[in-house]
Symmetry: C2
């Protein structure tokens, strides 16, 4: 079997001949063939091997094999060890996802620091077909059927047009050696079954399956980019960036044809799964909320509001003393002594220094909070104040309170409390400015 690799490179990646290339190598047949083909094509390559330490001695054997291969090919080789399981645990992702992230992150780092032009990976047409079928079996959308692209930034996949059979035949005919991956990780069960039992049936129906599948992939990728282009063109018309995330004017959404399809595209990357609930927000009562694991979509009066679910909101921050500038996650507090009152914006207030008890605290509001709004007599529930000020839910949630001895000093950005203000007895006036 002749693998027309050089012609293929010329046609698909005409620039690689004069480039420095990093070839990702596992030691398996695909990447070994890729390295050999590159060497035969006189490309300027180095190898990069990740040791994920997931298969004990076998992982060490892979590493040793790659070192020998680099020696035999007379090319430079980079090897890096990863604590894959610990990383997966800490990021709460699967082992496969972790390996993927670690791998591509390291490749990119190598590429940047050592001035490689491209990274080659050995994905082939069957990989894409298998992924397509796995996603089909699990249920998916267009994004799950488009597969790995031949070119994605600096990452090129020069074997993507070739089939596993072609690559393996080349390896046998060239008497290459490689490492078999004995792992039977659960994630591989479905892939193996599809590889061994489903794809051969499809190949019986069309021996040119992989070629036609490459065309299918190209068409699907084109459709996918058009959907993205459309959403990108719509986005500035319908979405507005806010402190808390994005707002979407419902009236505007409703003018768009197939608004549900648009909403799916807009919100799918935020982890939503209950699509009927999401779609029904357009007609829902204000206050209705749909949650994903990471985000919320809130029906406000005339808008949909998209915000992150943040776990940091429950924390309380302290301002120990009136240092000149205090930096906290939500912004910067700057204290100055002032001789007299002056006109200021919403982000500044004047305080009587003697009325404050340090440390001050900065926290989010809670049900039951009340304060003495400056310019009003007596106290008011904070929830009532928010309602009168017509704050949306995320605006309320995004609002910070400055407190002294757990009494509200300032509903930051909205209103000062009268109790801490300057009066005839004030000896030291503090001007406090908040910059988000």
């Amino acid at each position: 079997m002749f693998l027309p690799f050089k012609d293929h490179l010329k046609e698909h990646f005409p620039k690689v001949e004069q480039s420095r290339i990093l070839v990702a190598i596992s030691g398996g047949v695909d990447s070994v063939v890729l390295a050999h083909l590159c060497k035969k094509a006189n490309l300027d390559i180095s190898l990069a091997h990740c040791n994920f330490h997931l298969r004990g001695e076998e992982s060490e054997g892979d590493e040793a094999f790659v070192l020998e291969l680099a020696d035999a090919l007379e090319v430079e080789v980079f090897i890096e060890s990863f604590e894959t399981e610990a990383y997966a645990r800490s990021k709460k992702i699967s082992i496969q996802m972790a390996a993927r992230e670690l791998r591509y992150h390291w490749f990119e780092e190598l590429r940047e620091t050592l001035d490689f032009d491209y990274i080659f990976t050995a994905h082939h047409a069957n990989d894409n077909l298998e992924t397509f079928l796995i996603n089909l079996v699990r249920g998916t959308g267009l994004e799950g059927l488009t597969g790995i692209p031949e070119k994605n930034g600096a990452i090129l996949r020069p074997l993507l047009s070739f089939s596993r059979a072609e690559i393996e035949e080349y390896a046998h005919n060239s008497h290459l050696k490689w490492r078999e991956d004995s792992s039977n990780a659960s994630g591989k069960y479905m892939r193996n079954k599809i590889r061994q039992e489903v794809v051969p049936k499809l190949l019986e129906l069309n021996p040119q399956l992989l070629e036609s599948f490459n065309n299918t992939q190209e068409h699907l990728q084109q459709s996918a980019v058009l959907v993205e282009d459309y959403i990108s063109a719509l986005f500035p018309r319908i979405a507005k960036q806010e402190d808390y995330g994005y707002s979407f004017r419902i009236k505007m959404l409703k003018t768009i044809p197939n608004v549900r399809a648009v909403m799916y595209q807009l919100f799918k990357s935020f982890g939503f799964t209950e699509w009927n609930d999401v779609y029904e927000l357009l007609e829902a009562q204000p206050g209705k909320i749909v949650y994903s694991k990471t985000h919320r979509l809130i029906k406000d009066r005339e808008k949909l509001l998209l915000t992150t679910l943040s776990s940091e909101d429950e924390r309380e921050y302290e301002i120990l003393a009136e240092e000149e500038v205090v930096m906290l996650p939500m912004g910067t507090f700057q204290f100055e002594t002032a001789r007299e009152l002056s006109e200021v914006g919403k982000d500044s207030i004047f305080l009587d220094q003697n009325k404050l008890k340090f440390p001050l605290t900065v926290r989010k509001w809670e049900e039951g909070d009340h304060f003495h709004p400056f310019g009003m007599k007596g106290k008011k529930k904070l929830s009532k104040f928010f309602k009168d000020e017509k704050l949306s839910l995320p605006e309320k949630e995004n609002c910070w309170l400055l407190c002294s001895d757990d009494e509200i000093v300032w509903v930051i950005g909205y209103r000062a409390d009268a109790r801490f203000g300057v009066d005839e007895k004030t000896s030291t006036i503090l001007k406090l400015t908040f910059t988000p």
Copy 2:
């Protein structure tokens, strides 16, 4: 097995309870189950059966079976015979395509004339999954993966959420009778193989495959409508309707992101297959043409021109005498006698009646044609005239010539010939007006 048909109808097609419905029935298990379910749900149905006369006695048996079924269900039945093979031959399409066209055309006719509200067909989830896989095997694009929709105008498919297994189990448990289709038409080979060998493997990997596939289908359909919406929004910006078809300004096309993907969407319905050639037209020399079976895409100086391939162009038409109005396929010729010359537009000329020899002919131009352009001395090649007038290829091809004794009298819409014009010896002036 309980088939929650009534609930499903309520949820998906709330209007059908008060409607007159035509159920398409082949006699196979799917449509028999559909008819029974409709009857049990107290819907107001009639049956419609097509006899395509493709399987001899079996076709007659199907027809007899449907008549009995209608009797048993106490519903009205319509039966129509089709000359399917002759129709396929005359339209140069496959037998399956022919049957499809004939069937839907007849259903629609019945619906309109007899005031049915909806047509029900018995497609189920496996049909869509099989079609998806068949198209995948053959090579396809998004349009080949989106499957039959649950609702398409007046055509509803109330079984589309159910699997073949559910339907067959219902048929067995309800002791229904139906006709087995023994046809082994070649088009069925692939479907049977996918049904019997591929789908069962996928079901082993995910017993809920058909449910997740229905979701996949919904997502893909949504993506497909967004692509259409995007192209519809772009179309008026980049395309201009012309007498000969459409023109697309290349400069404008080049401002669009992912222009190749857009071109694929724009031109795929015109039968083009050589996509690289199509894409390369953007940079090609003027005059380069890409053909489909029915259309051409022409690189003009600053535009792409899309035209149909018409076989009528080679005909010659005759104008036997100067009747008042002569109607021909390309337009209408109106002769009037005139007392004197007057100011006229491009669509009228004045002629000396005595110089004309009837019958006149109307034809397209040919290489080698020449004439004596009015207002110029001597003769000129028509090709040179077109070039000087900067006509595009389809404009040239769309241009008709009026001839007398095969001498050009009028390059219609562009220039009269001096030899047939009015002079001092003219006794009868004819004014000829052409309306396209």
